[in-house]
Amino acid sequence: MTVETGGATTVAPQDSELIQLMTPEGERTENPNYPLGDVDLKGLYRDMVLVRRFDTEAIALQRQGELGLWASLLGQEAAQIGSGRALSPKDMAFPSYREHGVAWCRGLDPVRLLELFRGVSGGAWDPEEHKFHLYTIVIGDQTLHATGYAMGIQRDTAEDEAVIVYFGDGATSQGDVSEAFSWASVFNAPVVFFCQNNQYAISAPQERQSRVPLYQRSRGFGFPGVRVDGNDVLACYAVTKKALQAAREGQGPTLIEAFTYRMGAHTTTDDPTRYRLASELETWRLRDPIERVRAYLARSGEADSAFFDEVEAEAKELGARVRAACRELPDPPPSAIFEHVYTGANAILDAERADYEAYLDGFEEAAR
């Protein structure tokens, strides 16, 4: 038996199956199934530039030892901002661990995202306040949480709410994702499965996960799947908006495969030169999600140089704020180890805490 170990086929799929509303060259195209309506393209551009800047700062902070790790979203800005801006305020989002752009759209201060990677908390923002759940690191687990949450919406008969859950191409191999597809389908749950196919699960190309295009996975489960150009912010916005609306209207789940590319490393510990060719990255650079919007805005005259300068200045300001705020994130006190394991008292844990605090106090007394 031979084992296929060929590299990833990362050419764009056939045009007929890929929803695209703006070409990599920055030309607008129409798709009658996905009318755009009013969309603030300059706002989407600004979002993408700012989250890319935040991401760049976070990588630098890791290099400087301020973060233990960082998972970069470089190249996935359109998928995240497009889908994130398609959410209504009441919709609930369940991220994986790379959805910094979606977090931005949900109004979460990006500094909060650094807590997890700096190691000062589990990323303890209030999920309901932002309608943005905590990051989930075990691959695919959150698809079931999202499905359950959507089943709760059904029980609450909250017809103006839907759920979106983010996961990657690798996650489609996880049993939990298949279970989530089954459950969402049989219960007709108002959930949108947003798969960012960034072509690699660390080093494993998408071909190692599936013989069929990922968006076709939903067919066997009995709900629609659609493949969108994940580097096209307009298409991601329109496709997500439509899927969320279908969910709210009782039409059940949709799988969206955002066909994109992880332009950086899996995380700051990864070295992608070991498993992919530089030429592949160059191909995808030509499809950069931000550049195409910039080209369109400039060419169409919808934005002038003052706008671009303004966004650039705002990005610099954000970068400076993030750098300073990250360094100021304090280490929690030792007692924080013992907090919030349970909602109330726990005799075994409370005794351990008392013992450890007495042990630490012993050093202080000795030092006196």
């Binding site: 905590l134 949480h145 999202a146 709760g152 029980r155 279970e179 349970y342 109330g344 075994i348």
Partner: protein, 327 residues
Amino acid sequence: MTRLTLSKALNEGLRRALEADPKVMIMGEDVGRLGGVFRVTDGLQKDFGEHRVMDTPLAESGIIGTAIGLALRGYRPVCEIQFDGFVFPATDQIVSQLAKMHYRSRGQVTLPVVIRIPFGGGIGAVEHHSESPEVFFAHTAGLRVVACSDSAEAYSMIQLAIAADDPVIFFEPKRRYWDKAEVDTAASLEDALPLDKARTVVAGDDVTVLSYGPVVRTCVEAAVAAGEDGRSVEVIDLRSLSPLDMETIIASVSRTGRCVVVHEAPVYAGLGAEIAARVTERCFYQLEAPVLRVGGFATPYPPARLEDHYLPDLDRILDAVDRTFAI
């Protein structure tokens, strides 16, 4: 007082919980129309509807994963895992997600999910239907782990577990489902023994026997037999396996000076090991003999025709009691 089987007592407790809080819901395989393979949820779907008593697809990780999502939405799901050996597909969701969410959110997210698991052997079942996986969960911070031993306990403990804001793994002694006992269904839950407290079932002075779940009854029988030989055995039903009620344990062992821990789960790295270590730390000078353990062997659960050898029975418990006097 009403005489109920343990299964029916759980059923009544669940019914009370469903009545008390509209956010309580039951979910699992075959829990609706069928009423559960042990009939614990019999009739509940008929009375509370499919949204509150839900037959799920056959996927344990899916049951717990979606229960987490429902809890995030404000529901209080009570999940049934059909048999002990089928909980493992859900282990990731239980250990990585359910147990940790309150901690990692620094208290902002609570997941009041109860996972009911029929456990233990003695019913002549095929493999994967007779296991005692409690220690996997007792070892996981963030979970509370309890086991009921009779009808009255089942009735109050299931309601207390559902009312608790922490995730609770609720073990039910499957070979005792059809045992009948008096249950005071008129009693207020506020008067019930708290979920994290052990209960002295038989008072005695010479040796403390600690147990939980299905073997509590066996220990009581052993205490009666030992009494005929002039030995006064104190039997304590631990009820809570995490956290352990060490104060009750220490108070008893300090008095008797002897301690035997009995469970169906393998002795090796079992709950008895944890108890023995803690009793030794706290009662070293009161102990007349080493803490002894009686339980399953370091083997997989054996084929049913061998299970009588594997399960702690009256004679093995009495043998251990005797040995604490022989040393």
